[in-house]
């Protein structure tokens, strides 16, 4: 329905003289090209709209059409494995319509109306259902059961149910009698992106999200339902790390948002993920992944929306009781989109031109992460990992600073480490995780009773190294006492053998928890034994030269396969044999 006419246009922002009522945040269509937009403000008979497509060629006087509803996404089977733009237009379908270049005014339904899905009811006629309860299931992929849930605002008694069989997503499958009258549901639902989906309650995070990245899992872990930020200058390794998390994390579902970044990086995911195997299921990684791509050259307002589109999809799968991990690369581009639109609205800027509401928007976004009890009583989680691209790699800028207040894990990427090709370039002195205590019981019960301690010991060595290096920088290492030189040797080995992890190496890219623990134990064992020998008067040079297994220890991360951590045990036996020979001379 036409709701008004355009009176003013500047980039993605247009003003409209309204002739019939519009709601705040209502989704609208602009001009006869039907460009998608959203109402930002209403003052008297003038509304301001941000448009998610290029506005070139649009003229004052062009009509604006209302939809009566806020910007929303479609939810149902068929989301997994697909790539959408920031307002959930399916990019493959758009390519079929408009070719290699994204042209305006083309739309395609986010979810196919033709595909048939195999539906099995999980309730029967007469069952009383509360909001969010599951009434049927669909195998969305070989390993993923898509649970059809009652919308969060509906409850009632089942009066009719379709038989098990193959249906399209818009076929009515269940009828309920509710206090508002009869309600019919199909597999398809909609949900407004800017509104968090309701839950019963939050629960404390207690399980790690295992990432297969050693420096993360052992030193700076993230919990399922937790929040993390990855700040880093260009080339520091944000994207490679986000991709690694998307590939190897033990999440059930991954939502990957390419927000204002490179086109080729999304292409890379599209090509690589289908070929990679999920280490847990043996199936293609694409069978658990949803991509949202609004690359840097796509319209800026849709970049702002892409974050909300992504997190709404994540919440939907969380509500089914799944562990979802969401990666947003990069939240700085989202904040800049906010700034650009704010500037066009001539709002009063706060720091560096960002609007004053930047921190509250950031907080609201990260608050949508969490481990929860769903409306139906299951446990599900959304873990959020946001990359930050600070101008000049200066972490004192507003987006980094504000984000730091709302996340509990901070993986600070370091450009000096990156320049030396120490990857992931997570700086061990300035990074932190607030989840160590929450998840140590899990590690204790499942992998290593001493997990907490292993990490602490390793950190202690790295901290000592840092102060020793300050001295060594002035006097050279050779003048330090043997014990201190030994600490430097061990710290260097920890960096090369453990902290560094080559994402391009087929073995090293992912480290199983067992291999991680075995590797830390090996390094700490050498540290303990070596110290004793040095205490007895052995010069560090002998340990360094006669114990000639150092290169092998450093290479172990790439040579020891994940399913053979016992090879590290074998290496340890050989290290011990060498140390025994040296130690004998000193009675150690």
């Amino acid at each position: 329905m036409e709701v008004g006419k355009i009176t003013w246009i500047s980039g993605p922002v247009v003003k409209v003289r309204i002739s019939s009522p519009l709601q705040m945040l209502e989704q609208v269509e602009v001009s006869d090209m039907h460009l998608v937009g959203e109402v930002l403000s209403i003052r008297g008979d003038e509304a301001t709209i941000q448009v998610y497509e290029e506005t070139e060629g649009i003229k004052p006087g062009a009509p604006v059409y209302g939809s009566g509803a806020p910007l929303a996404v479609e939810l149902g089977p068929g989301l997994i494995g697909r790539i959408f733009d920031g307002i959930q237009r399916p990019l493959k379908d758009l390519a079929a319509l408009s070719g290699a270049f994204i042209q305006r005014g083309f739309t395609a339904a986010p979810l196919s109306r033709e595909t048939k899905w195999h539906f099995s009811p999980s309730v029967s006629i007469g069952t009383a259902l509360t909001p969010g309860q599951v009434w049927g299931v669909v195998p969305e992929t070989a390993n993923l059961q898509h649970r059809l849930m009652l919308p969060p605002n509906v409850s009632g008694t089942v009066t009719w149910l379709a038989n098990e069989g193959d249906y399209t997503i818009d076929t009515p499958l269940v009828k309920l009698s509710t206090v508002q009258g009869e309600v019919t549901c199909s597999m398809l639902q909609r949900w407004p992106v800017r509104q968090p989906r309701p839950i019963r309650e939050r629960v404390a995070p207690s399980e790690p999200l295992l990432t297969g990245q050693r420096v993360i899992d052992i030193l700076f872990p993230i919990a399922k339902g937790g929040t993390a930020a990855i700040p880093g200058g260009f080339g520091a390794g944000k994207t490679v790390l986000q991709h690694a998390l998307a590939k190897w994390s033990d999440a059930d579902i991954v939502v990957y948002i390419g927000c204002g970044e490179r086109g080729n990086e999304m292409t890379d995911v599209l090509i690589e993920f289908p070929k990679l195997q999920d280490p847990r299921t043996g199936r293609s990684l694409m069978e658990r992944t949803i991509l949202v791509a609004n690359t840097s050259n796509m319209p800026v307002a849709a970049r702002e929306a892409s974050i909300y589109t992504g997190i709404t999809l994540a919440e939907y799968y969380r509500d089914m009781g799944y562990a979802v991990a969401l990666m947003a690369d990069s939240t700085s581009r989202w904040a800049e989109a906010l700034r650009e639109v704010s500037g066009r609205l001539e709002e009063m800027p706060a720091e560096e031109g960002f609007p004053a509401y930047l921190p509250s928007r950031l907080a609201a976004f990260y608050e949508r992460a969490g481990r929860v009890t769903t409306l139906a009583g299951n446990t599900g989680s959304v873990t959020v990992v946001g990359a930050i691209s600070p101008p000049s790699a200066d972490f004192s800028e507003p987006v980094t600073q504000h984000t730091q207040r709302f996340v509990r894990v901070f993986w600070a990427l370091d450009k000096d480490l990156a320049a030396a090709r120490h990857f992931p370039s997570i700086n061990w002195l300035s990074s932190y995780s607030g989840y160590r205590d929450d998840i140590s019981a899990w590690w204790g019960a499942h992998q290593a009773p001493d997990w907490q301690d292993l990490g602490k010991q390793m950190m202690a060595i790295l901290q000592q190294e840092s102060s020793l290096l300050d001295i060594a920088k002035l006097v050279g290492q050779d003048t330090l006492p043997d014990m201190e030189r030994f600490i430097l040797l061990i710290a260097r080995t920890i960096k090369e053998a453990f902290l560094q992890q080559n994402a391009m190496d087929p073995v090293d890219a992912y480290s199983s928890p067992a291999k991680q623990v075995a590797l830390v134990r090996l390094l700490l064992h050498i540290y303990d034994r070596g110290r004793k020998i040095i205490e007895q008067g052995c010069p560090v040079g002998r340990l360094q030269n006669e114990m000639d297994l150092w290169p092998e220890i450093v290479r172990a991360r790439a040579t020891v396969p994940n399913d053979q951590p016992e090879l590290l045990q074998e290496l340890r036996t050989r290290v011990d044999a060498k140390l025994n020979v040296i130690g004998k001379d000193y009675g150690a």
């Binding site: 649009i58 004052p60 042209q103 840097s296 650009e340 000049s392 090709r421 150092w550």
Partner: protein, 469 residues
């Protein structure tokens, strides 16, 4: 303006101008004007300027003039709204031609009849339709081929400083670039923004000498040309590149210099518009604006052509954290960083490999592409050279004589790496094998135990053991 004149006719009418400020004209009493429409402004002396609609309301258009407003009198100037966004008539016949920054001929010949009129802003490539770039371009420059490989379809800028030999390096790359199994030449599109006459001349001569002139199109906005035009120039160049690569399936190398001048023109424009600045006075959308240029690179599925970009920028004060190099690095697929220190010690090309990066390298080297030992060799060269920097700063404090012997090895390696491996002649084109073998030779100045990024097999095969020889 009476409402019953159809839009089609309005576009033909010339309107008076009511205000001029900065590079902006206010034109009132218009209707049917579209956002970002192309505008022609006729001056009293009959000369023409071009602009575009920056914002438009029901009866007033704000027009930004590309070539500046100096000399425009509101009383006599007339604006004509063309009804379409700015378009550029592209044609393969533009190869071999020299144009100014607005696409008008400078070589005294008429422009060819265009194949297509294309919107200079292009349109975003759908990521599902991109082909991931993998084909290595051999440049013959070791510091690039071994450690910062250029891939066909990549955007790889040169970060330089004033007075450093970026022009020489870019010209050498343009001259020597070829693929392993193909001698299909590149068409070269050269866009100059605010560069000096002699810089433009240098490129023109270099293309002439190598015989590439006939497959080169040059767009020249020189230092004394209107600053606003600098914004237009790369858009025209890339519009032509897209036509050649994606309509005619040619391989195109686009050299754009100097992106810093482009950014400064944008800043000037933003301040004239009265926009709220972000860092160092640059507009908040500088990132999006640069991305809209740099992302016009790559390969499309099912097409043989490609666009490879090599933007050049001078870092003000050699400062890599300045907004232009900073945002460029955030968008491009790596960067080649030139070093003043190396230049002063007489090394050409003075590429500092540590801050340099090729993000697409990982998929274009190794077995089946270059050589199996290439990825680990590159990684080890980086790691060892990073260590050289540490040792050098220690040596500066305690003196070279006080260094441990292991550290002295690193100094020797660093010297050889810079002089023999990175350093080469402007006319020297090394093969990939030559480059990699040279890499092994300098690396073998270090003891094997230090080379832990290389597996034992590769060490056995390639390490040059002097104790054996």
């Amino acid at each position: 303006m009476s409402a019953d004149i159809p839009d089609r006719l309005i576009t033909k009418l010339y309107r008076g101008v009511d205000e001029v400020y900065g590079s902006i004209l206010g034109v009132s009493g218009v209707s049917g004007v579209a956002y970002n429409e192309d505008v022609e402004i006729r001056l009293r002396d009959g000369s023409l300027r071009r602009g575009h609609v920056l914002a438009v309301s029901e009866d007033k258009a704000i027009v930004e003039v590309w070539t500046g407003t100096s000399g425009i009198e509101p009383e006599s100037a007339r604006a004509r709204f063309t009804g379409v966004p700015l378009q550029f008539g592209v044609s393969v016949e533009l190869l071999g031609r020299v144009m100014n920054g607005s696409g008008e001929p400078l070589d005294g010949m008429a422009l060819p009849v265009s194949d297509v009129m294309a919107d200079v802003n292009g349109a975003p490539i759908n990521p599902t339709e991109r082909e991931y770039p993998r084909d290595l371009i051999i440049t013959g420059v070791s510091a690039i081929d071994a450690t910062n490989t250029l891939i066909r379809g990549q955007k790889l800028p040169i970060f330089s400083g004033s007075g450093l030999p970026h022009n020489e390096l870019a010209a050498q790359i343009a001259r020597q670039a070829h693929l392993k199994h193909s001698d299909e030449p590149f068409a070269v599109i050269f866009a100059a923004m605010g560069v000096r006459h002699d810089d433009a001349e240098y490129f023109r001569n270099s293309f002439e000498e190598s015989g590439a002139q006939s497959s080169t199109a040059m767009f020249l906005n020189l230092a004394d040309d209107p600053p606003m035009e600098r914004i237009l120039t790369p858009h025209l160049a890339l519009t032509l590149a897209e036509h050649l690569a994606f309509d005619l399936e040619m391989h195109v190398l686009v050299i754009m210099t100097d992106m810093t001048n482009y950014g400064e023109a944008l800043r000037e424009l933003a301040s004239q518009r009265g926009e709220v600045p972000s860092r160092k006075g640059y507009p908040g959308y500088l990132y999006s604006d640069l991305a809209a240029l740099y992302e016009r690179t790559g390969i499309l599925k099912g097409k043989r052509g490609s666009i490879t970009q090599m933007p050049i920028l001078t870092m003000p004060n050699d400062d890599i954290s300045h907004p232009i190099p900073d945002l460029t690095g955030y968008i491009t697929e790596g960067q080649i960083v030139l070093s003043r220190d190396m230049h002063l010690s007489g090394i050409y090309p003075c590429i500092n490999v540590l801050p340099s990066l090729s993000r697409l390298m990982k998929d274009g080297i190794g077995a089946g592409f270059t050589r199996e030992d290439h990825p680990a060799l590159a990684d080890q060269l980086y790691a060892a050279y990073a260590r050289v920097q540490e040792v050098r700063s220690l040596a500066a404090v305690i003196g070279e004589e006080e260094l441990a012997s292991a550290d002295r090895n690193y100094l020797a390696f660093g010297e050889a790496f810079e002089r023999n491996f990175i350093g080469q002649k402007q006319t020297e084109a090394r093969s990939v094998d030559e480059t990699l073998d040279l890499g092994w030779r300098v690396l073998s100045l270090l003891p094997q135990e230090e080379l832990t990024r290389i597996n034992t097999q590769d060490l056995k095969l390639h390490y040059v053991d002097k104790s054996v020889n």
